[in-house]
């Protein structure tokens, strides 16, 4: 799988230089945030915003109830006025601290009310700070399950795992589901990253040992995670693109270890969510900060089964 993020000739028509905007229908990019190992003047890849494409957002480590969580939530609602994503996938740590009814309100229902009211569906995975009872919460759409799969659109399937207690039954389940799926796009998400440059947590090597061979074998194209409180797009690992989007409410400033060599793009100075669009064999993505800046963008191509 290839990942493009700047100056690819076939993409030139889609590119929008920072602050300039983009082609008709596409989402205009804001100012470029300069972080990690990217050159400052890199062009941004706009989301095509095509009719009929599948659009979604990614959010993780968010449920603090703090002002900054609310501000990022406002940014998500604002962004959706221009880019009608249908679902938000939650990569865990959905509620920090207590989980009383008022906490579900203050840490989830109120900040994301504009999205909930607009019919956007949230599909949760559980993080290490989440109580397992969240699986029954209607607005998390987990259907009472700790791990599950859903297909929001023909040819696209998400596999949602519980990575705090990855019991053997779950590993067997995900292998069976991945094997049985004929979807071209297989996207897996869960809380603990297989690859991360986080100084606090970093890559979960034990989870990687177990899951990565399955992801490779069954053509997973994208892995979405959180846990480390920043945004990071990893360099493709064995053809799979991994994202850490653990910056929906919590932030650990300066926590990306620049020395890992894993980072394609990192941002650890403000909260971020990710917006993505799948059209055909390509997935476009933008990472949007609390202040509305596009801090990363690009397009990747799905993995294909060997003929």
């Amino acid at each position: 799988m290839r990942t493009r993020h700047s100056f690819s000739i076939p993409l030139l028509l889609l590119l929008s230089v920072a602050g300039v905007g983009c082609r008709d229908g596409a989402i205009a990019a804001g100012a470029t945030a300069v972080e990690a190992q990217q050159p400052a003047a890199e062009a941004q890849v706009a989301l095509p915003n095509k009719d009929g494409s599948f659009k979604f957002a990614v959010l993780g480590d968010f449920g603090t109830g703090d002002r900054t969580q609310y501000e990022l939530a406002e940014q998500m609602a604002k962004f959706r006025q221009r880019f009608k994503y249908e679902i938000v996938v939650l990569v865990g740590d959905n509620l920090y601290g207590s989980e009383r009814p008022q906490d579900f309100q203050n840490k989830f229902e109120i900040p994301y009310k504009p999205l909930i009211d607009a019919g956007v569906k949230f599909y949760a995975s559980l993080g290490n700070h989440d109580a397992r009872e969240q699986r029954y919460y209607k607005l998390f759409n987990m259907d009472g399950k700790l791990y599950y799969t859903f297909s929001p659109k023909s040819d696209i399937r998400f596999f949602v795992l519980e990575s705090t207690y990855p019991v053997p039954e779950q590993i067997e389940w995900v292998e069976k589901e991945l094997k049985a799926s004929g979807s071209n796009w297989k996207i897996v998400y869960f809380h603990h990253p297989l690859y991360s440059s986080g100084e606090r947590h970093g890559s979960d090597l034990r989870l990687r040992e177990v899951l990565e061979p399955l992801f490779l074998k069954y053509n997973v194209s994208v892995v979405l995670t959180g846990h480390d409180h920043f945004y990071e797009r990893l360099k493709p690992q064995k053809e799979i693109t991994h994202f850490v989007v653990g910056s929906g409410g919590q932030l650990r400033k300066g926590n990306i270890d620049r020395g890992t060599g894993l980072t394609a793009r990192g941002f650890d100075t403000d909260l971020v969510f990710m917006a993505a669009e799948i059209t055909g064999d390509e997935m476009y993505f933008n990472a949007i900060s609390r202040t509305g800046q596009t801090v990363d963008s690009g397009v990747l191509t799905r993995r294909k089964a060997a003929p």
């Binding site: 009872e133 606090r200 177990v210």
Partner: protein
């Protein structure tokens, strides 16, 4: 999950045999098969080596108590209406508090050490010391202390009482989970300060704890 519950508990003691041992001079024998992991799963690196027979026996006392607790929990939970898959926060809270009340009533005389037995406690502390004394120990402890800002001495942490709402649920690294006796889905290990908590996740009740479990 219920189908696996008994199996998991009964497998716990056997699993432990493959887990432990710290600093013994003789080369330990290879551990026996531990669980029904998928044949395709790659081997994982053990943080601490096999347990001595004495330590395995000590932890077996805890596994017996765990089984008793889980049996009780299952029985009480089955007496309640099943939570719908599209529950409101109020329904979740009500269900949790009802189960909490039933568990507390059924274990009215519970006290520290009922599950973390006096025999098991020193073994658990030694296992944790081995994990945190390893090369990743400092980072593991950092990850546990993330969101773990509460001094257990300042809160009322009681066996068979509700886990305090103000205390965040902490991270428990996989190395620790791999080292401690395996639990069913009804129970979790958590740290509050340096206390190791056995948390009934459905009832949100502190089933037992060990104080001063996390090495300084």
């Amino acid at each position: 999950m219920s189908a696996t519950r008994g199996g998991l508990v009964s497998l716990a003691a056997a699993t432990l045999v493959a887990v432990g041992a710290c600093g013994r001079e003789s080369v330990p024998p290879p551990p026996p098969a531990t669980s029904a992991s998928p044949a395709t799963a790659p081997p994982t690196e053990r943080v601490v080596g096999p347990l001595s027979p004495e330590d395995a026996r000590a932890l077996a006392t805890m596994n017996d108590r765990l089984k008793q607790y889980v049996d009780l929990h299952v029985k009480l939970e089955q007496s309640l209406p099943k939570l719908p898959k599209d529950a409101t926060p109020q329904q979740i809270d009500k269900n949790q508090r009802t189960l909490e009340r039933l568990v507390r009533e059924a274990r009215a005389t519970a006290k520290p050490g009922d599950i973390f037995t006096p025999e098991a406690q020193p073994v658990i502390k030694r296992l944790l010391a081995a994990v945190f004394g390893g090369p990743d120990g400092k980072q593991l402890k950092s990850s546990i202390m993330d969101e773990n800002t509460v001094d257990p001495a300042t809160i009322k942490l009681t066996v068979n009482a509700r886990y305090p709402d103000v205390v965040p649920l902490t991270s428990v690294p996989p190395q620790v989970l791999q080292t401690l006796p395996k639990l069913t889905e009804d129970l979790e290990y958590r740290f509050v300060g340096d206390w190791l908590i056995l948390l009934d996740t459905h009832a949100h009740v502190v089933a037992d704890y060990i104080d001063d479990a996390l090495p300084k």
